[in-house]
C-alpha cells in the first residue's frame, strides 16, 4: 500500500513538474518558503497564484489567510506536495538546502532566491519575475527599489559637512544582546546612509554582542528593531540602563523602529527611509 502511495506521489510530482516547465502565469501554483519572498510575490501581483506560505508570512494581510506549509527552517514536505505546486520559491538564507534537494528529487520545480544583500535585491527580483513570467512587473518593481535607494544615497542629510560618520548600533534583541552585524540588510542600510555600524566587523551576521564593547565604541544612535508581538521598550529597559553612558542614550537618540529591514523585500526602502528619518 505504502509503495503505491509513494509511486502515486511521484506520478503527481511528474505531472505538476510537466506543467511547471511553461509556467504560464494564470495556471501557476506557487509556494513561498520565506516571508520576504511572499512579500515580493504579492508586490509582483502574483498573490492569487500563491497556494502556500510559511507560518511566518504575515505581510500583506492576505498572506495570513493562505494555507501554511510549516516554518522556514522546518517546512513540511508533505504539506508542500499536497498543494501540488508548479513552483516552490526558496531562499538561501532561511531554508535548509536538503529541503531543496528533496523537492528536486521529487521533481518539483524550484527557484532559489539568492539575494541576501541590498544591492542584490533588484537583480533577484528580476530573475524571479523572469522565471515566473512577470518580467515587466518585476522590472518595474526592481527599478522602483533602485531609484529609492539612489534617492536615499543622495539625500542632503546623508552627506555630513565633516567626514566624521555617525556611529550606529542596531539592536535586534536586547537580552542577551544581539545586534545586526556584517552581511545583513541592516548593515547595508547603515552604510547607505553614510553611517558606521559599530558591529560591522564581527564574524557572524547577528552576533551576540559584548555590552562592554558597546560602551567602548560609544554609538551616537541606537536603533531597536521590533519583534512580533513584543513590547520592545520594556524588554530593552535593562540593557539600555547598563550602557547609559553612551552618547546615543545621553542625547536621547534611541529609536524603536519597525521590522521592515529584517526582510529583504519590497518594503526595504521604506525601512531605510525610517532610519534616515531618525538620523536627521
Amino acid at each position: 500500500m505504502k509503495r503505491y502511495l509513494v509511486s502515486l506521489l511521484i506520478i503527481i510530482g511528474f505531472c505538476t513538474s510537466a506543467v511547471a516547465v511553461e509556467l504560464e502565469a494564470p495556471s501557476a501554483r506557487i509556494i513561498s518558503l520565506a516571508p520576504s519572498v511572499t512579500e515580493i510575490l504579492y508586490a509582483l501581483g502574483l498573490g492569487d497564484h500563491i497556494v502556500g506560505v510559511t507560518t511566518f508570512c504575515d505581510y500583506p494581510e492576505e498572506a495570513k489567510m493562505k494555507p501554511k506549509i510549516g516554518g522556514m527552517s522546518n517546512p513540511s514536505l508533505e504539506a508542500v506536495l499536497s498543494l501540488k505546486p508548479d513552483m516552490v520559491v526558496l531562499t538561501t538564507d532561511g531554508n535548509p538546502k536538503e529541503f531543496e534537494e528533496r523537492l528536486i528529487e521529487l521533481k518539483v520545480k524550484t527557484f532559489v532566491f539568492h539575494a541576501r544583500r541590498l544591492s542584490e535585491l533588484p537583480g533577484g527580483i528580476r530573475e524571479l519575475g523572469a522565471t515566473l513570467g512577470v518580467k515587466n512587473k518585476a522590472d518595474k518593481l526592481a527599478r522602483e527599489i533602485e531609484s529609492g535607494i539612489s534617492k536615499l544615497n543622495k539625500s542632503p542629510f546623508v552627506s555630513h559637512p565633516s567626514s566624521i560618520k555617525k556611529k550606529v548600533l542596531f539592536i535586534v534583541w536586547p537580552e542577551p544582546l544581539m545586534v545586526a552585524g556584517p552581511g545583513t540588510v541592516i548593515d547595508d542600510a547603515i552604510e547607505l546612509l553614510d553611517c558606521e555600524n559599530i558591529a560591522g566587523e564581527t564574524k557572524t551576521t547577528y552576533p551576540k554582542y559584548s555590552i562592554e564593547e558597546v560602551i567602548h565604541r560609544a554609538p551616537d544612535v541606537i536603533f531597536i528593531g521590533k519583534s512580533m508581538g513584543v513590547d520592545m521598550r520594556s524588554v530593552s529597559e535593562g540593557v539600555l540602563s547598563r550602557m547609559n553612558s553612551v552618547p546615543a542614550i545621553k542625547s536621547g537618540k534611541v529609536f524603536y523602529v519597525s521590522d521592515k529591514l529584517f526582510r529583504l523585500g519590497p518594503r526595504v526602502v521604506k525601512g531605510i527611509e525610517e532610519l534616515a528619518e531618525c538620523l536627521k
Binding site: T55, F56, G71, M72, S73, N74, G94, V172, W173, E175, P176, L177, M178, A199, T202, K203, T204, Y206, P207, K208, Y209, S210, I211, E212, E213, I215, H216, R217, A218, S227, M228, G229, V230, D231, S234, V235, E237, G238, V239, S241, R242, S245
Partner: protein, 321 residues
Amino acid sequence: MSKVRITLLAVFAILIAAGSVFLGPRIISPFGISDTDWIILINIRLPRVLVAMLMGMALGASGALLQGILRNPLADPYILGISSGASLTAAIGIIGGMSFLGAFTIPALAFVGAVLTGGIVGGMGWKRGGLWPERLLLAGVGLSFLFSALLMLMMSVSTDEGLRRAMLWIFGDLSMSEWSRIPYGLAFVVTGLLLSATRAKALNALILGDEFAHSLGFAPQRERLVLFIAVGLMTAASVSLGGMIGFIGLLVPHIMRFFLGADSRLLIPASALGGGTLLCIADLISRSLLPPMELPAGVITAIIGAPYFLYLLRRKNVLAI
C-alpha cells in the same frame, strides 16, 4: 593539611575573581582607570564576575551534595529536572517576549520554574514519611524528559529568532548579570551553602547508608530533606542567574575528591570554590576569545574542564563517593 589546601583554594578563587575583573577583551589597568573603564568595571564586569562566582559555587556545592544524597557518582544538579523546568518557563518568557517585571522577568520565571519542579520532584520522591534516593532520581529523570520534550515542542514551533534567543539563554548567559540580581542570588546561595555546611557530617553518614546514619544519631529522612532543600535553593538560584552551565555540577566535585578526599565537610566548600573559580575563568575566556562577540560560558566550562578531568582520571586513583 586539608585545611591548608582549602585555604589555598580560597585564595586562588579570590585571585581569579579579582583578576578577571580587570582582564577581558580590553585589559583595564588598575593604575590608570579612565571614566569609561570605570563604568565598565563597576556596571558590567564586577556584577558579572560575582554572578559567575555565585553560580559556580551553587553548582559545585549542589553537585557534591546530590552525589552524596543519591549515592550516585553521575548525579548533578540538573539530573533532578530542576534546570529543565527552569528552562521551560524561561523559554516561554523569552519566546513569548514577556516583560511584566522588566529585566527581571526571565530570571523570575526561571526561578519559579525551578522551585516548582523541585517541589514536584520532592513530592514524587516522598513516600512513607521520607525522601528516597532512587525515587528522587527517577522522578527527576522522568520530569526532566517531559520538560525537555515540551521545550523542544515549543522551540520547533517558534520563529528562528525566538529559537536563537531561547537557545542563547539556555546555554548559559552571563552577559545579562547586573547588580539587581546579586542580592537574591547571594541570599539563596549563601542559605544553601550554610545549610549544607551544617549538615556535612550527616551527609557523610548518609553516604554510608541509612542504618549507619541512624546508628550515629542522625535522622536520615530529615537530613535528606534539609539537604534536598539546600540543593533546590542553590540550583534554582543558579539557573535563574544565568541559565544552564553544564559540567560544573557533575565533575567539579569529582575533581575535588581527587585532591581532598571524600569527606563532605571539606568537599562541599571545596566544590563550591572550585566551581566558582572554573566558571569565572570560563566566562573570562568566553568574553575575551572572539571580541566583540561573546560565546556561551557553558560551552567553555566543558571544553576546558572535561579534558582536565580525563587527565586526572588517568593520573589518580578514582575515589568512591
